[in-house]
């Protein structure tokens, strides 16, 4: 297969790390409501965005994710009161730092989706998939084939 064909058939792989209480429920709602969204997202459920070690995001990129989405409760609505507020700082600094070393901004995305926002969840996934698709396959921080 030529590179061109490969690129044509390429579909973005996106890892979404979402909190149990809001975004995961939001994704559920989107499902129950039969709202269509692209199948490019693999969801990992965590108790709270505050629990996410930023290394998860980097490792996902290293392992070949074309984009990583983190989503939790809207500020002020965290099940653990302030988990997402500390997370917000962590991710703000992380995103800025990754941008600084030259990683494309749309590779790492952060947002809030509440349990009642099934519609918004689908919208976010559509938006994220489009954004990552526009960037093409990830090249930076990606682990190459096993060789010395």
């Amino acid at each position: 297969m030529t590179e061109k064909q490969l690129a044509k058939e390429w579909e973005p792989k996106i890892v979404a790390i979402v909190c149990n209480w809001c975004t995961y429920a939001g994704a559920d709602l989107a499902g129950i409501s039969r709202i269509q969204y692209p199948p490019n997202v693999r969801i990992i459920r965590v108790p709270c965005t505050g629990r996410i070690n930023p290394f998860y995001i980097l490792r996902a990129l290293q392992e070949g994710a074309d984009g990583v989405l983190v989503s939790g409760c809207h500020p002020g609505e965290c099940h653990y009161i302030t988990g997402n507020l500390t997370a917000r700082r962590k991710f703000a600094a992380l995103k800025s730092f990754l941008g600084y070393i030259g990683l494309e901004g749309d590779r790492t995305l952060f947002t809030w989706v509440s349990a009642s926002e099934g519609d918004r969840f689908a919208q976010v996934i559509r938006g994220v998939t489009d954004a990552v698709r526009a960037l093409g396959p990830a090249r930076k921080l990606v682990k190459g084939p096993l060789k010395i």
Binding site: K143, P145, L146, K147, I148
Partner: protein, 341 residues
């Protein structure tokens, strides 16, 4: 043994030419450092330099080296093959005599009768060492003469080049060296050249500024395993691996696995006795629990155990660790202090 004279200005060109025919590793400028690297065809190596920042052991015992491959099947991972060792001949140009000596020290360990290390030995067999003798010791921190070497030592060398002024005296010491005769060309060297080399050798040895009692401390180490000396020696040590990673004779390694998809490899990476994790057992117990024991291990290994096992000090006196230690924990001073115990 064939001895030739090679015009000084032609040397870099000869090596550059060889780079088109085989894998040639040589000292090259890299930003503000001099490092060994593989030459592109026609690329001329440095011939006028002190010594490289990194030791050439990297070409026989790389920082990371593949040992074997495997693949995942329904039943688990299965062995898929050894590392392919045949990568053709390598010419290692511009090695200093101290670094060349390190190869003979590494041979003792990796080429032991009972367990021979195929990765090292295969690379060693395929590598021809072309050394540049030190007409003047490159650094004031050099102490090769204290550990059994000298500035024009030919141990571990296949072709030794000594700068006589207008020409290099080229001594083709081994069959591997002699294989380079036609490539290096030159004119037969006479007695005069040999005499000049001897003079240079004597002068260079005399110019070595650092002299340490490295050979004298073995009996002291034999009896001073428990000594208050070790209690404070290590205090400023950062437990980084700079000294061991730059050392031409340090050979400790770790084995680990890496997997991607259905493929996996087993690799070995440099490790360092300076790292806390080096000896930490799964249970959490660590027989060398603090930097004290780790420093003692480093000194004991180089100046006592290696002597016990192989009859040689595992140090070639290149001075890299002296210059690169971030906290100036100077091995020359440590050895001198031990001699006073």
């Amino acid at each position: 043994m064939e001895k030739r004279l090679i015009k000084k200005e032609t040397l870099a060109g000869i090596v550059g030419e060889l780079a088109g025919k085989m894998r040639v590793c040589a000292p090259m400028k890299a930003e503000d450092q001099v490092l060994f690297r593989v030459l592109e065809a026609g690329e001329k190596p440095l011939v006028d330099f002190a010594n490289t920042k990194n030791a050439p052991k990297n070409f026989l015992f790389p920082r990371t080296e593949m040992m074997m491959k495997y693949t995942r099947t329904g039943k688990g991972m299965v062995f898929a093959g050894e590392e392919e060792t045949d990568r053709g001949q390598t010419l290692l140009f511009g090695v200093r005599p101290c670094d060349a000596r390190s190869f003979t020290l590494l041979d003792m360990l990796f080429d032991q009768e009972k367990y021979r290390d195929p990765y090292y030995i295969n690379k060693r067999k395929r590598t021809t060492v072309v050394a540049l003798a030190c007409v003047h010791p490159p650094y004031t921190t050099c102490f090769c003469t204290s550990v059994g070497g000298n500035p024009v030592s030919s141990e571990g060398v296949d072709l030794l080049l000594t700068d006589l002024g207008e020409a290099y005296l080229a001594e083709f010491l081994t069959p591997k060296g002699e294989a380079l005769l036609s490539a290096f060309g030159g004119t037969p060297a006479g007695k005069g050249a040999e005499k000049k080399k001897e003079e240079i050798a004597a002068r260079a040895a005399g110019e070595i500024a650092s002299r340490i009692p490295a050979r004298e401390i073995k009996p002291i180490l034999d009896t001073h395993f428990e000594d208050p000396f070790w209690d404070t020696l290590h205090l400023k040590c950062l437990a980084c691996g700079t000294c061991t990673y730059l050392c031409p004779t340090c050979h400790c390694f770790d084995i680990s696995d890496e997997v991607k998809g259905n493929d996996g490899i087993r690799i070995r990476n440099w490790d360092s006795c300076m790292f806390p994790m080096f000896t930490k057992e799964t249970s959490g117990h660590n027989p060398r629990p603090s930097q004290k024991e780790r420093w003692r291990q480093r000194i004991m290994h180089k100046f006592r155990y290696y002597v016990d096992n192989f009859g040689a000090i595992s140090c070639v006196g290149c001075g890299r660790c002296v210059m690169a230690c971030p906290v100036n924990l100077d091995i020359r001073k440590v050895v001198a202090d031990i001699a006073k115990l």
